[in-house]
Point group: C2
């Protein structure tokens, strides 16, 4: 089955499990709104791309792991958009969750999505108990503290910021987790997959920096100029647009070179190259 379809089906299964008649309707609606329709789904695509490269012998588990990574990503977007952080009014081309449903439901939507990520993974692991503990450790490291996306966001509250720890945690951790979760679901636990994911995350961060500086907010569905507004480091600001594009291409190449030995190395290499073109604003894709 097509990767895109597998991701949407696994997400649909996870979200609909919470939508019983006895659930409060507002929370159910807000959760669905936060997850659908699809964004780039770049992190779960990486998870399934890596799982496939590693043989993907438990496709139900790898799809659940990919969906969990995306649910955790959606949770972080909902909370990062809150007034206490970015106070973003739009996300994925529509009002942010707290604008559409109010702040209380936005806080609860993020919380419920985190829980749902672990719960739906465990549901699919009934016939793979030997892989579950490692997968949960992988998700935890990607999103919690000391080095996951919670920690990354918390660095923005510090007066003395460890820039490298900040960047690795804020973006790199979830990419590393996506790659490692895809590999882990297929029974491969080489730590080199973490580094592969970190490399992809760095490339993605540069692309995102370029978008924040040059993209049309309508086209990418969220406000731009946020890094300058929140005094966050931005590679395109530091290196210039052309410098940032070159740096991104170099990071993609390095990442491809770092793919650990696995049955589907060539397919994964092609996928990474194709993904690289998808995340830049349209006018910049050719040159990237």
């Amino acid at each position: 089955m097509d990767i895109k379809l597998r991701i949407e089906e696994a997400l649909e299964e996870a979200v609909s499990a919470g939508e019983t008649p006895s659930a409060p309707a507002g929370l159910s609606a807000a959760i669905r709104y936060a997850v659908f329709p699809a964004g780039h789904r770049i992190r779960p695509r990486i998870a399934l791309g890596v799982a496939r490269a590693c043989g993907d012998d438990r496709p139900g588990l790898s799809a659940a792991a990919a969906a969990s990574i995306e649910l955790l990503h959606c949770a972080s977007l909902v909370h990062d958009d809150l007034p206490a952080f970015d106070d973003a009014s739009t996300r994925r081309g529509k009002p942010s969750v707290h604008r559409a449903f109010g702040e209380p439901l936005a806080v609860l939507t993020g919380d419920a999505l985190i829980v749902m990520a672990f719960e739906s993974l465990a549901r699919q692991a009934a016939d793979s108990p030997d892989r579950l503990a490692t997968l949960i450790a992988t998700l935890g490291r990607a999103v919690g503290t000391p080095s996951g996306i919670c920690a990354g966001q918390a660095w923005e509250c510090e007066s003395n910021v460890d820039l490298s720890a900040y960047q690795r945690a804020k973006t790199g951790a979830l990419f590393a987790g996506a790659a490692a979760a895809g590999a882990g679901a297929a029974g491969h636990n080489d730590p080199a997959w973490l580094e592969f994911g970190v490399g992809l995350g760095e490339a993605y961060q540069v692309a995102d920096d370029i978008c924040d500086l040059t993209a049309d907010p309508e086209q990418i569905g969220k406000p731009t100029g946020q890094d300058q507004a929140h005094a966050r480091p931005n590679a395109a600001q530091t290196l210039g647009i052309d410098g940032a594009k070159k740096w991104m291409a170099e990071l993609v190449q390095r990442t491809i070179d770092s793919i650990p030995d696995c049955p589907g190395r060539d397919g994964l290499r092609s996928m990474v190259l194709a993904e690289g073109g998808k995340i830049l604003p349209k006018g910049l894709v050719r040159a990237a």
Copy 2:
């Protein structure tokens, strides 16, 4: 080892795992502040009491499950105290997390505690992979949606409230989860443990309603009169203090009668009776 000590040791292990030198200091401090010093720890006491009644053959796993329940409870307190919900200024006798550390770190502390709960449980399950998936399902049902504490809190955002679903989810779910997690960690998966936990949760809710109406805020470490301020149902308001105390005693007795067949039935019965006396304001304990 004493139950209290086992809980504090397991919590210390979970919290300190996040406190590496590369973690953002503010988040580490806020997490520790939210978890220590101990509150009643009533939910993890129930988990370990039930585990013991069921034989407690994996004490590392049951302690981790108990700690996870408490971490999830602490997460819910931190988020429920936020300005978007109760805007509580104090909790456990000191400023609430958002008053002490600011709102951004309070949101992240709750998020990180939820992740930590699943992560630390998985860490202790390395030699019990067969029990992990069920334990995670138990935690998920207790805190997520459709019927966990996230859903319970979300009922407060609805205009038409299903009162029974609200009360079961808001308080009962985590008590049910505590009992079922303790049993599950000891390899017992009788659904009757969920009902036992729900019964305890109902008794606790009545005690909490009495506290909200009669206790000294200094003594219980949090503001009182919150139910009236937020137009929430309160059994002591409806039944009067004496009526509520009688109702609570009846609930405790019903719960004791519902203890499923297990090796340590008598010990658990005594524990429930003892706990009943601990959660009421001091002046009311004798009569309860």
